[in-house]
Symmetry: C2
Subunit: 237 residues, 2 copies
DNA sequence: CAGATTATTATGTATAGACATAATTGCAGA
DNA sequence: TCTGCAATTATGTCTATACATAATAATCTG
């Protein structure tokens, strides 16, 4: 008996975390139910629910109706990354942003692109490639295909001064998507644009976005050597 | 007046999303307050709060006390990645897992490592390097330094059959940490271990974990060519 | 008029009670 | 014994009300 009453959901969260850390509730343990915990902590069940739900969202607890709440066996660390618009990514580092369009054309996409975008391989799509600069130095190559069925307004744009990256976020909303991170060797063309040598390791981000049932755009962002993404993990506490 | 009543927080969330998409509330708009929305939707304020809070966590809305709730200007896409234990990462792909320890020794860490781990450069730390295999093929090189002040029990382990990766998660808890993703060129040693050529692009993940005020471990995971991390973005809807 | 103080307001959170829902458990019938 | 239905149970959620808190707006004072 602690005798103390925890009256905020944060305090309850901390106490639950403390017990998990202290191995009072080792991984795999089914912890007492909400009603019992509420009684022990001297608070309402809703408050306990709030605390446990937040921990479940972080991947520390696993909850299932009727089965109860258990401490996750493999506490996978969950990292949330914010992927800003490229301009923002650069200006947030206190550097000046530059943009240079390389090409913009409506053309027949390669078979693989057509398949990924779920469009008829015989129909056209908008292809835009551009270079984003940080302090006059090349930062990232943007190679993008836009589904004109979903975003017909894109055909009227030339993306000469405004990047497709920015135009899309303020014009064509998306409901969901997927993102992929890889390391690749720079092609001859990429190397030249990024002022590096062919075969140099580049960080590649591929994004595919959807608006409900339709694909919006497929973007391949190719970051030069030295680029890294950093974020925090674990309980922000 | 819609006349319809939205009685679940999910329905309210959907309706708010619909209005944002339909540009009824374009980016930057301050939306009506919770009380008014509750009245309009015919539900309790707590229900509206639940819906809006979830959207704020996703980065779609920005909320501040008194100032109100506004639609985010730059809807940064937020991706949450689950970083599992390496064994799990491999077995979840339906492949067999193999482990091979390369070295394990208590020694004086390089200056940079000591600084990152916040330990006295004159004191020792535990260094472990290992190779994780997927279907007998090299998958990732683990190069790790463990702070023996925080995890003294690690000194008694030889990590011959159980990887430090797994031993740590079940033995030494951590409260928070940071993670970094980069592309790098394989060194001669890394190339040999990963059965590739020196200079080949490798995907590098660096993780530093803390337990309250003390560092626990610094791990560098070096994934062979072809490796990629994929995750979803946007509203899981 | 500047600066400090107070009022207002929107979000944040707690509570008690109720009902909804999913999933397990156990019982009953074939 | 196996199958299927029903009881149980823990989480999930909604409501109405209340108070806390932070930040802005308004007001008062030197």
């Amino acid at each position: 008996m602690t005798g103390l009453t925890f009256n905020s959901w944060q305090a309850i969260q901390d106490e639950v975390m403390r017990r998990i850390h202290a191995r009072v509730w080792p991984p795999g343990t089914v912890i007492p139910n909400e009603a019992d915990l509420a009684l022990e902590f001297g608070c309402a069940r809703a408050t306990v629910n709030r605390a446990l739900r937040a921990l479940a969202e972080m991947g520390i607890l696993e909850r299932r109706r009727k089965a109860g709440t258990r401490v996750a066996l493999h506490p996978v660390s969950r990292a949330t990354l914010d992927i800003p618009v490229i301009r923002q990514e650069i200006t947030e580092r206190g550097q000046s942003y530059g943009y240079q369009r390389l090409s913009c054309a409506i053309l027949r996409p390669p078979a693989e692109i057509a398949r990924t975008l779920w469009i008829n391989p015989a129909s056209d799509a908008l292809h835009v490639s551009a270079l984003h600069l940080s302090e006059t130095r090349p930062f990232v190559i943007e190679d993008r295909w836009i589904n004109l069925t979903t975003a017909p307004a894109a055909a009227a744009q030339d993306f000469e001064t405004l990047s497709a990256n920015e135009w899309l976020v303020v014009t064509i909303p998306y409901t969901h998507g997927s993102i992929r991170f890889t390391a690749a060797a720079a092609t001859a063309q990429e190397a030249e644009l990024l002022c590096t040598t062919p075969g140099a390791p580049v960080f590649v981000v591929e994004r595919l976005t959807w608006d409900h049932e339709r694909t919006v755009t497929l973007a391949r962002l190719c970051y030069g050597p030295g680029y890294s993404i950093t974020t925090g993990i674990g309980t922000p506490s």
